[in-house]
Amino acid sequence: MNKLIYFILIFILKWNGLNAQSICFNPMFVGSKLVLNKKYFMANSTDSIQIETLKFYISNMEFYKNEQLIYKEKNSFHLIDAADSSTFNLPINFLSKTFFNQIKFNIGIDSITNYGGAMGGDLDPTKGMYWTWQNGYINFKIEGKSNLSIAKNKEFVFHLGGYQNSFSTLQTIQLPIQNSEVISINMAIDKWINEIDLDKQNHIMSPSKEAVFLSNKLSTIFSVSK
């Protein structure tokens, strides 16, 4: 039913000459699309890595034209799951033919929303992106295996989150973009993994200085695909 409404909406927008577009987030690994559970080798070494889980929130999408806010998505919370490529594509329905040259969004969930109680959709706590012993959303979750990890089964687990004061892990990303039907944003996951000494650090599962450090590094892995 929701899908039907969505298609009707798209149809009406198109009919009126209005603009429907989408933003696509592509998790990448060494230059090509990330394949979960595939054994990758790190640059110039025999060290291997497999990503088994990659889930993260994109929120608060805003579109700018020369620093001026043109459009802000309402209720903008999207859970992207590398295991489900249908979550990569985020349709945006502008109210008019809109020109913009910059996009701004957050990786993770802002603190006001973290204080907001039970929520549905992608924010439903059944999505596996919510901490229960000390509550708050997990902004970015990556799990896998590497021969470098000294943990059981050579696993690594990084759940980055935290919204309070000095442990805030929310990241705001700004990218220059151009109008087109599909705006593709690549995320170089390998670049981020390279920031971690997997032989020394193989897990983060609570708000901490380390989570803040690694979250800050996330801001460097986004680029607009040409």
């Binding site: 907001g116 229960t132 509550n135 309070q164």
Partner: protein, 339 residues
């Protein structure tokens, strides 16, 4: 005469038409602060409260369907666990903290002894997921609810939608917890001039205001703050309190100030349940050992004679609210769960 009756009926009808349902389901007691819970985002209805109550009493929330919220939060003991210093969960596992008494939760901004939870809706997730409590996860709980005989209808009645979600489950549990208001103790009746204290209770109240009220502030009998009340750390539990959450040394050994309402029934006391009797608690406060983060309210020694201790206890017993402890609206919903 007839016209007058019609006019009055109309006025009464209009009055009821404009008063929303939740005004009847939840009322702020006179002279109490405004609740902090945002009822607009989760409007109370009878059917949602019933659903929440059924969930509260149903062991379906635990991994092997043996432990319900009520196991550690029993109504007759002010929704805490009598005779259990530490929470006692699934497979006879024992937790590290005393299960808190549940009442007047609509006025709380944070939950748990260390304030780890920032919203009532999210509170239930902690015991559901805790290894020593229910050892379950919310996703699996929802699957069990969908497959159950009773819940699809209860959710449909509550939300006009038989799709069961984590959001609706948590909101329903909140609704039941929100109506657990205790405001009809002898103390409350005295405040409303319906009853009077005995001389002993009156003297106890005076001593209470001088020595205890700065933290156990009326009318909720907690200031909602986190404090180190001077009890030495238990070397086995090694519980550092709020510091675990904030990672701030200033919060070392600080725990949330609990309410004193229904204290007669909520034994044992303190975050680790180390005191069984009220007199042990009072003796602790008259014998404080100084420590680095000790509450400023406890810096000056509290001196009470043995008679004064008895009077203070007499006052504390006026905080017992039998209407709350035995309210059938809060009890096991046998009409649903034993069907």
């Amino acid at each position: 005469m007839k016209i007058k009756t019609i006019v009055i009926s109309c006025i009464i009808f209009l009055l009821f038409a404009f008063v929303s349902e939740d005004d009847f389901l939840f009322t702020t007691p006179k002279n109490w602060p405004k609740p902090v819970y945002n009822f607009k985002k989760n409007q109370l209805t009878d059917s949602k409260i019933l659903l929440g109550r059924v969930l509260f009493y149903d062991p379906i929330l635990s991994r092997n369907n043996t432990i319900s919220c009520a196991n550690c939060h029993s109504q007759y003991t002010a929704f805490t666990h009598v005779d259990h210093a530490l929470s006692h969960g699934i497979d006879d596992r024992i937790g590290t903290r005393n299960s808190p008494a549940l009442m007047n939760l609509a006025w709380h901004q944070s939950f748990m002894w260390d304030g780890a939870i920032n919203h009532l809706d999210m509170q239930a997730l902690a015991p559901i997921s805790h290894h020593d409590e229910m050892d379950e996860n919310i996703k699996h709980v929802i699957e069990k609810l969908i497959a159950s005989k009773i819940y699809p209808l209860l959710f449909y009645n509550a939300f006009n939608d038989s799709t069961i979600t984590g959001e609706n489950t948590l909101k329903a549990i909140s609704q039941f917890m929100l109506i657990l208001v205790s405001a009809n103790s002898k103390y409350d009746k005295v405040k409303r001039m319906e009853e009077t204290f005995t001389n002993q209770e009156e003297n106890g109240y005076k001593l209470f205001k001088q020595n205890c009220a700065s933290c156990h502030t009326e009318p909720l009998f907690t200031n909602m703050e986190f404090n180190n009340n001077g009890i030495p750390i238990d070397s086995l539990l090694n519980d550092i309190g709020r510091k675990r959450i904030t990672q701030n040394n200033q919060d070392y050994l600080k725990f949330k100030v609990p309410t004193l309402r229904n204290i007669e029934f909520s034994s044992p006391y303190m975050h680790d349940g180390r005191f069984k009797r009220i007199f042990e608690v009072i003796n602790h406060y008259t014998n404080i050992q100084k420590s680095k983060t000790l509450a400023k309210q406890l810096q000056k020694p509290i001196i009470l004679s043995s008679n004064e201790k008895v009077d203070l206890t007499a006052f504390l017993l006026t905080l017992t609210d039998k209407d709350f402890l035995f309210n059938p609206k809060f009890s096991f919903p046998k009409e649903v769960l034993l069907k």
